[in-house]
Symmetry: D2
Subunit: 148 residues, 4 copies
């Protein structure tokens, strides 16, 4: 219980990922097509890891990956083409081999558009992208990089 509490209270940095609603991100109702939010959350997670020293090139070179266990999002207010937004991401929880990232999508004027999370495994490909992958214990050094 205490462990769970402390995990959910991980004192995370907050990374920001800018995004911009495009014509092709919207549907015939004239608002954002909801899988776009998940595309953004995925990109925001990669950006947060890049900022912490794990950019795409390093992830690739070290055969690291972070596949999803689950994802969810609540849609609070509809975004429209032209809206400038940012995704604010933080680590909610580090488990043994998995972690939870929380994402808030804010419009430039401060309106909250969506709020979601991703649960991911920290993993390594046996022999490069495309090969079998297994979960790794998340190194303490990695966790430290996300501490506020």
């Amino acid at each position: 219980m205490g462990t769970v509490l402390s995990e959910t209270e991980f004192p995370s940095v907050v990374a920001t990922f800018p995004c911009h609603v495009q014509w092709g991100d919207c549907d015939p109702a004239g608002i954002i097509f909801y899988p776009t939010y998940f595309r953004w959350m995925d990109a925001a997670c990669w950006a947060m890891f890049a900022a912490a020293g794990y950019d795409a090139k390093r992830m690739r070179a070290e055969h690291l990956a972070m596949p999803l266990l689950s994802a969810d999002c609540r849609f609070l207010y509809p975004a429209e083409q032209g809206d400038h937004c940012e995704v604010r991401s933080r680590i909610l929880n580090f488990g043994g081999k998995s972690f939870v990232v929380g994402h808030e999508v804010m419009r430039a004027d401060g309106m909250a558009l969506a709020k979601g999370s991703e649960t991911r495994v920290w993993g390594k490909f046996e022999s490069g992208p495309g090969s079998r992958m297994r979960g790794l214990a998340i190194p303490e050094d990695l966790k430290a990089r996300f501490r506020a």
Copy 2:
């Protein structure tokens, strides 16, 4: 409490939506990029409504819409390019103006790949797509169409 129970027990038809993992649906890890599952769940929901008499043309003509309140998915096993799948969708719950659709993504050999849900509002555009939208009480006739 009883209401909640009976709602979660809505005796829904099960609609099936065939899908096929494409090269462009996959990421550099060689497995499905997870927002693809939400694209499929959205398409599966539209297909289920089409099968119940509310196809895209009717929805458009009657200015109906079904925007999302939330969506979630658990990823159980990674799909690869070439996998033939189907989404099995059912109504989990009809509320006043909202409803919950449950989706299971199954590979052709019976392997469960993902399991998720969408919570949607039943709504109407004031004057055609792109105009303001408001929630409608879900008609009993509509609910009846999804009863198994």
Copy 3:
């Protein structure tokens, strides 16, 4: 002939649209999935029009649209996740009701990644998005906004 020559020599402003290759933009070969370039070209065209005074809100309010007649792209060098790029867009040609936009996708280090074009109609919806659309003679004022 002379007309064609002078049209192809339209002295266009050059608009730049920043873009960033995401994990989900790439395929199992580890390089950009090519329809991504067309998504970028579409977004870059909208950005160029926004910079010229026709942003998404105005286009919507005035029922304007710019549907495609054709699009093409040559892929010069493969982009990878993490590459920072920009699309440089210019008007190649204004016809009566149609126009051609040329796009070059450059990586931040100056490497040319792709080069393409879109041919579009300048059109108006009869009664808002989703209704029938017809082509309009491109106003001289609009053309003037793109003159370098």
Copy 4:
């Protein structure tokens, strides 16, 4: 010249790839967002190769790839959500290490929606997906599999 002529006359099989316009494939104008056609053309090309004996699993196992040199499409008539279509694909031309695939997108009622082509290299990854790739001379056996 004669070479070009005979190449353009490659007596190709015609492969068909069924597709269905989804809500999320359409834009705020209520019609298909054009990069969708390129997604379909890519998937149709993979399906044509699968039908010829080179399915995704074999391509992966043998480290084969077919990256793009260029792509183009003319958009003849706007597709709408719910339209059932098929892509009809054929080899237009086999060169030394490259080939051209022609694609026609037809609506179920016979209306031609789009017509495009892809020029691809026949290539092999040095050591699995993600590694360096080089073009291969297209084997005669491969060409024979596409002969009508």
